[in-house]
Symmetry: C2
Subunit: 448 residues, 2 copies
Amino acid sequence: MSPKESSRRHFLQAGGAAALTGVLAGSQTETGKASAQTVINMPFKEANPRMGMIGTGGRGTELLKNFLGADTEVRALCDLVSEKARHAQGLVTEAGQKSPELYTEGDHAFEQLVARDDLDLVVIATPWRWHTPIAVAAMKHGKHVAIEVPAATTIEECWQLVDTSEQTRRHCLMLENCCYGENETLVLNMVRAGLFGDLLYGEAAYIHDLRSELFSDAGEGLWRRAIHTERDGNLYPTHGLGPVANYMSINRGDRFEYLVSMSTPSRGLAAYRAVHIPKNDPKWQEKYIDGDMNTSLIKTANGLTVNLQHDVSNPHPYDRLNTIAGTKGVFKDYPARLYLDGSAKEEYGTLDRYRDQYQHPLWKKEGEIARKLGGHGGMDFIECYRLVESIRRGLVPDLDVYDAATWSAPGPLSRLSVEQGSAPVKFPDFTRGRWKERKGSSIGAVVS
Amino acid sequence: MSPKESSRRHFLQAGGAAALTGVLAGSQTETGKASAQTVINMPFKEANPRMGMIGTGGRGTELLKNFLGADTEVRALCDLVSEKARHAQGLVTEAGQKSPELYTEGDHAFEQLVARDDLDLVVIATPWRWHTPIAVAAMKHGKHVAIEVPAATTIEECWQLVDTSEQTRRHCLMLENCCYGENETLVLNMVRAGLFGDLLYGEAAYIHDLRSELFSDAGEGLWRRAIHTERDGNLYPTHGLGPVANYMSINRGDRFEYLVSMSTPSRGLAAYRAVHIPKNDPKWQEKYIDGDMNTSLIKTANGLTVNLQHDVSNPHPYDRLNTIAGTKGVFKDYPARLYLDGSAKEEYGTLDRYRDQYQHPLWKKEGEIARKLGGHGGMDFIECYRLVESIRRGLVPDLDVYDAATWSAPGPLSRLSVEQGSAPVKFPDFTRGRWKERKGSSIGAVVS
């Protein structure tokens, strides 16, 4: 047996509902339906988009403010909690628009919203398990969709998004705000200009001490802590991974090929509960199984590697790593620091001397209002503005359903690898082979 | 097939010469000869050690200065290059000792040195491929051995060291100087005091831009670059891994169980050559295959994880990561920074306020002379001093052959995993199960 044959034997196939119960063979799970027509490079139909929003909690409200900041017409709002929907409605009327219609009756009120015939775009900011079902329903009703992260939590859901986007000819993109960060877009421009030479590896993470939020009796505490009782893997891969995927031109000349994943024990949430939660609280019935620190290694088709981490259960300063390295230098974030070959001293410098030359056009044009509106340093506004502008101008969107599926996939793939003792697990090729021929890159220059 | 059975199928066994050509079964490779008598907790026989040194190049000379600083009697020196041996001889006489005998005739001159009957300790600072053969020869001649890193480069060599140490009842330890660093020993004390809570993960690395040294026509350039044409994996795991293994009490209540490993393409050395090496130089015949950045994930028996990196071929500030994290906080190095639960701000602080309370006794006692002598910030002196003191006082050494084998093993294990598409590879249990019962910890307090 040659090493290559042996190596193949050790790959696990992930796909659909069976992904977490065993090993699947067959190419369908890897490339899906070969006959489907791609939405790569499909431009939006030029329109002044009329938006509906589903989920107007903390995150939905923040997004709404930024969409309103980008003068987006908001016609409908949906939330289970009518007070939250009404609060969002107030923000829209305060912005000088007509009062949007509200949908607040039960889990399936969103179905009425997506069935309206006067919407172009549906924005989804619900708990994670609703992202894909709502997105699929909205596309089937002819709406473009923008989903909060992660877009999907199983490989089956990833394929549902891709298949539906292709069948309905509607875009389904993920609102991965970190891709629009000032440093991220600056570094992306530096990568394109070749300052890092041939790329070699990236590092990406979501390290965010969420213990108090997870144990809150409001907001995300109502649903997000429960996920730590259900899965062991990377629950939230996209904030770190999206920008690194952009640096590496993933789905645009390269693709994620396989990953291995490893988790520590789950100790952080139980330790927090022991100190902060009264012994008679029902939370004491919960058993947390998600390893506190999950680390995955991803290999791309061109051989590059990504070190991807997730930890929300321990004391640690916020960190997305946001690292890209090549033959000519390395950038690391938190704090942002840069080292290029030939530097006088073997120590990191700042990005300051590169800002003028490499600042992204989106930030040059809209940075002032972005910083004023805030929202994660302004990245939220740039993200919302750019999406709406892309529709107004009939552009190809920066990010598409293939990115949404690819960046969400490490969630279920890491879970499968962890379950199988860190065995390598292949990424499906959501582009169905078109990553090879696709040109260009994500987060393009704005058309002024 | 249950997930557990499936998982077992995907583990590769590593052992001996066959390790890199296929998959081995059987427990021999995992735990060796069960009948051998352990050297765990075996004290040195009290003696004022008489030392011989093999390899008096750059690193050997540095070590020699530190051993002389610790008043070690040096009776014999060996090097292929007689000028280097004579230079070292001069250092010994300058220190007021009798002139040590020199062994400089050919590759096997070391055999005459280790056969002397007036030596207690042989120190080895040769190119890597000579470490194990010389160590085995020295132990068979009744000498204790201290080897530069890595002690071994194959699993077969790891077992040779363990078997020979047990059979000859001589210690064989690795001169892993980073374990004796001021920050490393301080953090080790903080870990022991419980400041980080239950440990979860560590990060370890050897990221050191060695491109100019590797292409030098002197020193390590004479042999070290060649290894990059022979292997793809982590060539040099111990500087990062040793201190993290100490934090985690590896071989003292826990052990490394398996790893997965992934390499980037090999681009850095070829890129450097293209710029710096004339086209008619024979170095242009070389083909570099070692991936520039190799990342391994290690799982311990207790479930902890280690992220282990190696990159010596690219522009990057020096970094060993040296990270340890638990339920109560995290320490990261380069620069040294600490964050403990309950901090007023979500940002790192320095170690300064912990130095007085947690400084290691070895540094309290010998820090002044260590810093004066230098050698990687003084860690080299502390290391040499501690070894010689342990023999003088008849102590159990801080580190032993099981540590040497365990910390060297990621070299060949990472190579095997990379060859097999990042498949998980089991660590042999060099302690033959005794890691479970062993008490205490490495780098103990000095007896004053």
